[in-house]
Symmetry: C2
Subunit: 150 residues, 2 copies
């Protein structure tokens, strides 16, 4: 972890999160956690990764406060891994990733899982970024501004 950022000490708002979840597996673990998985063995079976890797990834997610361990759920003395609020904050990112995947990584006729409204089973809308005035804005309509100079 903690790949060095060589040319500047303070990482930007995009790079900093990537230090916490910038590897293949972490996001998949988080996604599985959203799907209700909680136990070490469940994650391992679902993702099919080596136990030492899962162990390291969970440790990292814990260290970053994205997941936490809770004592039990079914009374047994084992612990379970659940998302913190910070972890649950990754939901939009996962949706964005999923929608991008659906757009560009599946053939038009290829079946894939859908993210649907629990209430009525209808697919959710597309993620949209809006300006203060409510306009939907794309990359061309935005820019990054440095922190207001002191």
């Amino acid at each position: 972890m903690a790949k060095r950022v060589s040319h500047r000490d303070s990482m930007c708002g995009v790079a900093r999160p990537l230090d916490a979840i910038g590897d293949w597996w972490s996001l998949l673990i988080v996604r599985d956690a959203f799907d209700g998985l909680r136990r070490f063995g469940e994650f391992q079976k679902s993702l099919g990764l080596a136990k030492n890797i899962l162990s390291a990834r969970l440790r990292n997610l814990l260290a970053h406060g994205i997941m936490e361990t809770v004592p039990a759920a079914d009374g047994s003395a084992y612990q379970e891994y659940v998302l913190t609020e910070k972890g649950r904050g990754l939901f939009p990112l996962l949706v964005a990733l999923r929608q991008w995947g659906e757009d560009f990584f599946f053939e038009p006729d290829e079946a894939h899982v859908l993210l649907v409204d629990r209430k009525n089973g209808l697919p959710v809308r597309r993620l949209e970024l809006r300006a203060q005035d409510g306009r939907v804005v794309g990359a061309e309509d935005t820019m990054v501004r440095l922190p207001s100079a002191s």
Copy 2:
């Protein structure tokens, strides 16, 4: 690349994109591309990564159709790297990553760059996921549904 997905051949809608951009650097390159960077040297200077790594990442982004090379911009015989439509489709994901980073990786008083509306300089709103009926929905309000069985 192409880390093997051991337990199931067909990767899900989240895992498949991660194969293309699931490493630290690729997303940062894409972000820089959104910021207008185009040349090999620009990316290298901005990100401060080894040239062989940048070379490999750009090759990977090209192979996945996320970026493409265009002959020139200022007449010189060099080539430049620009986002394809697929690459531009990553904008919501980058915004989601940035907003999550702002929420949880910065002290409340810590200065950071803002994503603002080009038109009036105001910060953009928060990304929102809406259901068909327009309700803003969170993770608890949604579920994944398997492709409608044949």
